[in-house]
Amino acid sequence: MRRLSRLQRSIDPLTDLPKRPSATESLCFSCRTRNQTARTASPFTTSTSHPARRSETGEVPLTERLRRKIWGTETPPGQDDPYSRLSENQQLAAQRRPRESSANQNTTGYEPATTWDGLESVGGFGHWWKENWDPAHKFQGFMPSERLDSRAALASALYRAVVEIFTLQGAGRPVSDVCNIRDDGVIGEYWRVQLDPSADGQTVAISYPNEHIRDDILKATIPSKPVEEVVEAEQEAESSHSTIPAASEQTSILEERVAAWGTQWFSIPLHDRSIKFTIIKRVMQLTGVRIPDPTIQHVNTLGALLNNLAAAPKPRKLADALFAHEEMASLPNVKLSEHRVTPIDKERDLGRWKLIERELRARGLPVTGHTSL
């Protein structure tokens, strides 16, 4: 494509004519020729002259002086600068722009941000899913995801499950209803109920301090609640949660209760399969601990079930297992470490590592590892 050539105006060579050197300078030949070639090579610059700079210095351009002489007046008619390289529209726009920007600054007080902190993020779908989809599609499992781990809490949960189930059984209701109890605060003071197994383990005497406790349990196990009641119950539960003491106090309370129950109830047998199933299901629901099938298979009493529930989990690291091993920890000629004993550890034990590290750094050598890696 042919390039459109810009027509040269006859006035153009005059506009940006550089000043001639005022005096002959004492320069060497090569410097002088270089200066001259530089001048002849680019006598005119393509950049527009800066009117603002001229107005600052008070200098009147040559074209303006010519206009004034032609018209014979200090204020010649026509455009302000008819020889400008900008078109008329561009000149008008340039005049208008500062006015608008100043108007904006005055009214809004806009300040551009220098960091992105606090700025609204626009675009992308990641946030949308996290903020909209996830809350509307929460997975609700049967068991709570947090597991109880203290023996007192597990024993309380087991005792509670047994009390609830025997209460339902005594009232002739299906024991599977026990899992309808969803709120912790509803069933009342189950810990005041006494379980006394007979000597042969075939019967269990269950004694309530008053009728209310039994009625509360039975009321809480009614399976289908209308929605409004559920909401109310949740509110009640929340209000009761607010009165629950701190965790440490709660643990001590639970320990006191467990001690008060004694160990008689541990011998209650789990021969009845439906009772066993319901107790295990309810315990899982209360504690969040899944009881594996082999354990269910061989557990025959409540005490054995509790021991399995409260058994310490298998350590995941060898070091944990060794630390838990008392005999190993007490041996005088065996030292246990949580991680591999490296040469650095040995130097650190001797107190030499600081010096070595400082010298390595001073020489620009790697402190750990290898340069080649």
């Binding site: 989809w133 599977s176 399969r273 082999p294």
Partner: protein, 293 residues
């Protein structure tokens, strides 16, 4: 290979159908603890609402074989639904590492693609012309340019496509299947879920939530889910959550898969069909090559 397992004269089972159908009412041999309350009259033990049906009559085993108990869970919520019983020689076999090793090697051999291929000098394209005379050049004697010692020549003793699969007696392989399931069961890592296991939405973020809440995910050693057939939502969701676990149908799963991840969550019908397919050493009429439990 088989001689190692001919340990003792083996019990010959007395034909198919010897396992009585395991029905709940027939096995309710325990008496419930009679509950008495001090403020009300003594109540009878609760009627059993416990339904226990091992759904297959195909689990052929001796009537005297004790059974082990499994809990059937609802799939995503993991609510215990009921107890079921399986014969001990299905889910309570002792661990036999040697048999598991044989099965895994057998499967690995069978899975090898065996398509590596190179060209011997006859297969290489080119002339059989002698490069230069046998004598008189001062150089070592040479045949054609396809010789294996020359660049561009054929490959001596290179691989050719072949079948790597090895053989394993069917009864050992079947025993390995049940040993793998028993290993999981004994460690409490076999979770049997009710049929029709699927999730509500085909979303990876949803299945990740489920795995995290149930302690099945990456932090807990990942999990294998085995279903009887393809389940659209579950498979689509877990396809992009390989770091949390895998899902396979019954015909895709093998012994190595059962042993690999942290736990196996298996549909009841899938477990039944696996056990049904892998009981050749238990069926009567054919002498077993391995010791019975």
């Amino acid at each position: 290979m088989g001689s190692k397992y001919l340990l003792r004269p083996l019990r010959v089972l007395s034909g198919p159908g010897i396992c009585p159908r395991i029905a709940g009412s027939a096995r309710m041999q325990y008496h419930s603890p009679l509950t008495s309350r001090s403020i009300t009259t003594e109540t009878p033990s609760a009627g059993s609402n416990f339904t226990d049906t091992v759904s297959s009559t195909l689990f052929d085993s001796s009537p005297t074989t004790p059974t082990v108990l499994t809990t059937i869970y609802d799939f995503p919520t993991m609510e215990p639904l009921e107890f079921a019983e399986y014969p001990s020689n299905h889910l309570h076999l002792p661990l036999r590492r040697d048999i598991l090793h044989k099965a895994v090697v057998y499967e690995g051999d069978m899975t090898r693609q065996g398509t590596a291929s190179t060209k011997w000098r006859d297969d290489v394209h080119g002339s059989g012309r002698k490069l230069y005379p046998q004598k008189g050049t001062g150089r070592a004697r040479a045949g054609d340019k396809k010789s294996p010692i020359r660049r561009g020549g054929g490959v001596a003793f290179g691989p050719k496509p072949r079948d790597f699969s090895t053989e394993l007696p069917r009864k050992i392989y079947d025993l390995a299947w049940r040993t793998a399931l028993s290993y999981r069961y004994r460690r409490g890592e076999l979770l049997v879920v009710a049929d029709g296991a699927d999730i509500e939405y085909p979303k990876t973020r949803f299945v990740k939530q489920i795995f995290e809440k149930n302690h099945w995910g990456n932090a807990d050693g990942r999990s294998l889910v085995v279903t009887e057939s393809f389940r659209t939502n579950l498979f689509r969701a877990l396809r992009h959550a390989g770091e949390e676990g895998r899902v396979l149908t019954t015909d895709q799963v093998d012994v190595k898969d059962l042993l690999e991840l942290g736990r196996v969550i298996i549909e009841r019908s899938a477990l039944d069909s696996i056990l049904r397919e892998h009981q050749s050493d238990l069926l009567g009429g054919i002498r077993s090559v391995v010791a019975q439990q």
